[in-house]
């Protein structure tokens, strides 16, 4: 999806609902070679695992599974789209740009693609953690793999 044209709020909603209702990457891995990290929250019910498979310094697959609200489900599912096929460095860069966007700092939107739909999360402060917990977990996992 190009990000050069303006997304309307209606389109953004549809993207969130689509990834929530029909997540592409919500499953436990069936094959070998995956590493995982658990993430949960004290202020809400979100409780899930993030998995990646890496080859030659690249993320070749990313999955997640567990219990999560709309915001954490959709944001984590989109995250998986964003990191699959990426080198560790560029995946971490994307995650950092996303975090900057959520935290209302300057960010590079060219790498965010659909993740841009979470631009308004700050309106509901209690959900900022939901929108970032999968991303924080993924960053930790990738950085561990990169070492």
């Amino acid at each position: 999806m190009p990000t050069s044209f303006e997304l309307t709020p209606m389109m953004m909603r549809e993207i969130i609902m689509d990834h929530y209702s029909n997540p592409r990457h919500k499953t436990v891995p069936s094959g070998d070679g995956y590493v995982s990290i658990h993430t949960d929250s004290t202020n809400c019910i979100d409780n899930f695992d993030v998995y990646i498979k890496c080859e030659n310094g690249k993320v070749v697959d990313a999955l997640w599974d567990g219990i999560a609200c709309t915001i954490s489900s959709a944001s984590t599912d989109i995250l998986c789209d964003r990191v699959i096929g990426e080198s560790f460095d560029s995946a971490v860069y994307t995650i950092e740009q996303y975090k900057n966007m959520i935290q209302l700092k300057d960010y590079d939107d060219s790498v965010l693609d659909e993740a841009i739909v979470f631009i308004n999360t700050g309106k509901q402060a209690a959900r900022i953690h939901c929108a970032t917990m999968g991303w924080d977990a993924m960053k930790e996992l990738i950085e561990k793999e990169g070492k």
């Binding site: 809400c44 019910i45 979100d46 709309t70």
Partner: protein, 411 residues
């Protein structure tokens, strides 16, 4: 009967027209905590502006007066729950502190590996985890009294599981998710027949119902100040005096011993002072007295009656929307636990927030109950005497539009 709208004038949180998300605040999280009336704030402030002094530590008038005030508060609480003796009233940090005191000070001391503690699946974490710790320490068993199909605790079900091994029955008078009133008096009778004691979690009952510990014949009762318009950080443990005498202090230090020497020979004071080591939460104690005087002046019967009516109204109106599932339509307490159809509880609560409505979502600290309900999470709206029908209407209106929950981020 009282008028909630008139009473609201006593509360700065209402007078100050607090807003959330640019909308007038609709406070429906009273099972979590409650607003404070002027008289409570004044009592707390007065301690710092006119009455500052420690208690039982000085030979001067301010200190003496403070001792008298603390004793007066004990007597106010004694009357409020109809305890036999003001020495049966122990100040704690809250319900959690009180239940931990029973667990560590009594249960861990007297229970052995052959004993059993009975709980229910509907208990709050504060009435589960301290008992888990006791079981871990002494090796005793934790068992659960089955709830009936509505989620209610019944005397018959207690009879099915209680045995001579049961030493403690620890249950809530009103459960914090489903809001059923447990038949505590009858449960206590059965527990006593088996030689067990009954420890009652009164966090959700004492603020809302008349409480008579002698009539209920509970051995221990725990409750919090902040859920009945008092300050946070102050609560009460009621215990029958003979049991309190058998109970060890949870903390030791100043103000709770009668003597000690370098050989480690220590004499503890009698209850309640034995359990009140260190400088107490004096502002909290004074605020608690003001809060109890305030709600007593409204009348606990009146509060109970009003909340029952409001609960019925809320259930009726919410069901009319056809857009939600209520898990406790028939429970007595002013707690409605529900889900907006096809909307995850947390998303629903965020949507309600966007409408200025404060409700709790999640497992409400009763994490084992959700297995029973068969849902991951629920939304809980809980009322108090100052909650109005208009507050309920605001909730109902939001629930009607629940499918638009992503509006919370885009409008």
């Amino acid at each position: 009967m009282f008028d909630p709208k008139t009473l609201r004038k006593d509360f700065p949180m209402y007078r100050n027209s607090i807003e959330m998300q640019g909308k007038p605040l609709v406070w429906l999280d009273n099972a979590s905590t409650t607003f404070k009336p002027d008289c409570v704030l004044k009592a707390v402030e007065s301690y710092y502006t006119h009455e500052t002094s420690n208690s039982h530590r000085g030979d001067y008038d301010l200190c003496y007066n403070m001792d008298m005030k603390i004793q007066e508060t004990r007597e106010t609480i004694q009357k409020f729950i109809n305890a036999k003796n003001s020495a049966e009233i122990v100040f704690t940090s809250g319900t959690t502190g009180s239940l931990n005191l029973i667990a560590y000070g009594y249960a861990a001391k007297y229970l052995t590996k052959d004993d059993e503690i009975l709980l229910t699946e509907a208990e709050h974490a504060s009435n589960v985890l301290p008992w888990f710790k006791v079981a871990e320490t002494v090796g005793c068993k934790i068992s659960y009294i089955p709830l009936n199909e509505d989620g209610r605790l019944t005397v018959d079900n207690l009879k099915k599981v209680i045995s001579k091994k049961t030493k403690i029955v620890a249950v809530a008078h009103v459960t914090n998710v489903l809001g059923y009133i447990a038949p505590i008096k009858e449960l206590a009778k059965v527990a006593h027949e088996y030689g067990a004691i009954i420890a009652c979690d009164g966090a959700q009952s004492v603020p809302h119902l008349p409480t008579d510990v002698q009539d209920l014949d509970v051995d221990f009762l725990a409750f919090s100040g902040h859920k009945l318009c008092g300050p946070t950080g102050i609560g009460v443990l009621y215990g029958k005096f003979d049991l309190l005498k058998l109970t060890d202090p949870f903390m030791t230090g100043g103000g709770m011993n009668s003597k000690f020497d370098m050989c480690g020979d220590v004499g503890y004071l009698n209850p309640p002072l034995r359990f009140e080591a260190g400088t107490q939460n004096i502002e909290g104690i004074l605020g608690l007295k003001a809060a109890i005087d305030y709600i007593s002046s409204i009348g606990m019967e009146n509060i109970n009656h009003y909340e029952e009516e409001l609960k019925k109204y809320a259930v009726e109106q919410l069901l009319k929307t056809g857009n939600c599932t209520i898990y406790n339509p028939n429970s007595e307490a002013a707690i409605v636990t529900f889900n907006i159809n096809d909307v995850f509880a947390q998303d629903a609560a965020t949507f309600l927030n966007s409408k200025g409505i404060a409700c709790r979502s999640g497992q409400h600290c009763a994490k084992i109950l959700n297995d029973y309900l068969g849902v991951v999470a629920t939304v809980r709206a809980s009322f108090y005497f100052y909650t109005t029908k208009e507050d309920v209407d605001a909730l109902v209106d939001a629930v009607k539009h629940g499918k638009e929950f992503l509006d919370a981020y885009f409008i």
